[in-house]
Amino acid sequence: MKKKSSLMTHIAGSPYIIWAVLFIIVPLCMVAYYAFTDKSGNFTFDNMLSIGKYTDTIILSIWLGLLATVISLVVAYPLAMIMAAKGPEKQSRMTMLIMLPMWMNFLLRTYSWMTILEDNGLLTTGLNYIVDCLNTLPNVSLDPVHLINTRGAVVLGMVYNFLPYMILPIYTVMLKADRSLVEAAQDLGGNKLDVFRNVTIPLSVPGIVSGFTMVFVPSVSTFFISQKLGGTGTTLIGDIIETQFQTANNFNLGASLSFVLMILIFICLAVMNKFSDDDGGVVI
């Protein structure tokens, strides 16, 4: 009987195992293989060594990714708190509103931002009108606003696209938190700030960590957002990897860049997890 049931588990589990091997393990091995070989398939460190000249790009990618993640956190945290405190009906309506943009195509959303931010776009025209008005005042001389093709635009694009991934995990954790813990903290002499600092934040750490991961990883490796909103001035590591595969046809360099990026992200998240000091429910 026991053997039969374990056979059944094997059969039931096999699609997932096959999936994992085919689409996760094998591609990872292929990335590693390409990263450490040259075009003719010989083992080499040349790809790795040539990454040095992309250091600035890598640092910029991580910096912008980090910035976008922190901004997302700052925006998402209060929102998640407000949502978790509302009645069930309002909660589902707000969740819906947050999810709604995600049903639209990612490319479309980024293109929309292009038209909003471009020099003759809605936002820029509006802001420049204000700038013109201010410039008529004495001693005021402001440059016209330029939004598209800046790093700010790229960060905005990242925050806009990935914000829901920050809100939802934090909201979920807060929703699950026992309300009586807040009451217990008040009961023991905690004012609102004490309760927030000593109970609300520590309890939401798992949500913060998983939100951080889910925003940081796609932000660091994005190429589409930086291409459309950052112009030529903001080239990220994702753009370079894309170029290697699409135009330069240098799979080996592309693979080694991916490999290094993966390791860097892994290190960032490991540091993050260390901070949280929490052993359960964290996505790495």
């Binding site: 026992d178 903290a185 008040q186 009961d187 023991l188 002499g189 905690g190 004012n191 004490d194 520590p202």
Partner: protein, 374 residues
């Protein structure tokens, strides 16, 4: 100055148009162990939350030590709460949980250490300082919760069904322990429970509540021996509630017999509810008996038999150390002291006799009380 620590004056609360507490007046004496007892939804937990400050009354005053504290937030009140499911902080260990209140008060580290050590000794948890909350059993978590609340030296400790989640044996032990702690520290305990046995064995004063109204306030013996109405009689212990008529002072007629009793002051021929506790009915030979009836069932309960006897269409429960055969006719005597007369109330006639066992329903409502009473 009276020795009342808390006074509730004309407190009313309603949620969504439903009255939870209806014009409640209550005083609580300093250093007493007082219990709010009642079924789910009777308003006992709400009353506790009003005292703690988590809930504001729609009208009425909460007076603490002579001062109205209506708008005072919980963290500024000199009382602490033990929550139904303990509400220990899962991200802190035992030591930090207990130290929580002291840290908020910016107590020096050395004093915190002394106080926490003392509290751990008080609740028998020496050596548990570094343990994780999740690694503790229910009883141990309970003790940590008690230590955490007591370490900040409250004048009043509020306990919201604190033993509800523990198994029977542990619950009995904790009852004794809580009572000891209360005596030793000499502070006021306000205890909320739906368990009448718990209330009877621990309290100095019991406040029996139903549908937002206090039904009776008294010592455990008063409440048990002199219930004010059919609700209290039914809720506290087993009781036969029989319709009777006061024929004169000290004489009540029920089940077709005139009994001598110790109650007076009722109108002649006034209809009343009569309470007779099952353990107060004596089984005697039929020829010597005041009343007699047919045994319809018996149940062995360990130290006694629970015997259901039908007398003139009404099924009585009696408790006896001797078993009786089902179907036989037995005689019953009731001494005057065992008869308690109550005025008719809105609860009269609600509880019926023992023709159907209510135990099953009791258990059903037990299982749901946790969800409802929040």
């Amino acid at each position: 100055m009276s020795n009342n620590i808390i006074d509730l004056k004309n407190i009313s609360v309603s949620f969504d148009g439903e009255t939870i507490i209806d014009d409640m007046n209550l005083y609580i004496r300093d250093k007493e162990f007082i219990t709010f007892l009642g079924p789910s939804g009777c308003g006992k937990t709400t009353t506790l939350r009003i005292i703690a400050g988590f809930q504001q009354p729609d009208s009425g005053d909460v007076i603490f030590d002579g001062k109205v504290i209506n708008g005072v937030p919980p963290h500024k009140r000199q009382l602490n709460t033990i929550f139904q499911r303990y509400a220990l902080f899962p991200h802190l260990n035992v030591y930090e949980n207990i130290a929580f209140g002291l840290r908020l008060k910016k107590t020096p580290e050395k004093e915190i250490k002394e106080a926490v050590t003392e509290m751990l000794a008080l609740v028998n948890l020496k050596g548990f300082e570094r343990r994780n909350i999740s690694s503790l059993s229910g009883g141990q978590q309970q003790r940590v919760a008690i230590a955490r609340a007591l370490v900040v030296k409250p004048r009043v400790l509020l306990l919201d069904e604190p033993l509800g989640a523990l198994d029977l044996k542990l619950r009995k032990d904790m009852q004794v322990e809580l009572k000891n702690i209360q005596k030793r520290l000499g502070i006021t305990f306000i205890y909320v429970t739906h368990d009448q046995e718990e209330a009877l064995s621990m309290s100095d004063t019991i406040v029996v509540m139903d549908s937002g109204v206090i039904q009776q306030i008294g010592t455990p013996t008063d409440i048990y021996n002199e219930p004010k109405n059919a609700f209290v009689a039914d809720f506290i212990g087993e009781s036969n509630i029989i319709e009777g008529v006061m024929r004169a002072d000290f004489w009540v007629e029920m089940a077709g017999h005139k009994f001598k009793c110790l109650d007076k002051g009722f109108g002649v021929d006034e209809e009343v509810d009569v309470v007779v506790r099952p353990e107060d009915v004596d089984v005697v030979p039929v020829e010597e008996a005041m009343i007699s009836g047919v045994v319809t069932s018996t149940t062995f309960k360990g130290d006694y038999y629970e015997i259901i006897v039908e007398i003139k269409g009404f099924k009585w429960m009696i408790e006896s150390t001797h078993n009786q055969t089902v179907g036989s006719t037995i005689g019953l005597n009731i001494i005057p002291d065992a008869i308690h007369i109550m005025k008719k109330s809105k609860y009269s006639g609600l509880y019926g006799d023992y023709s159907s066992f209510s135990e099953e329903f009791d258990e059903l409502s037990d299982a749901t009380y946790e969800e409802e009473d929040e």
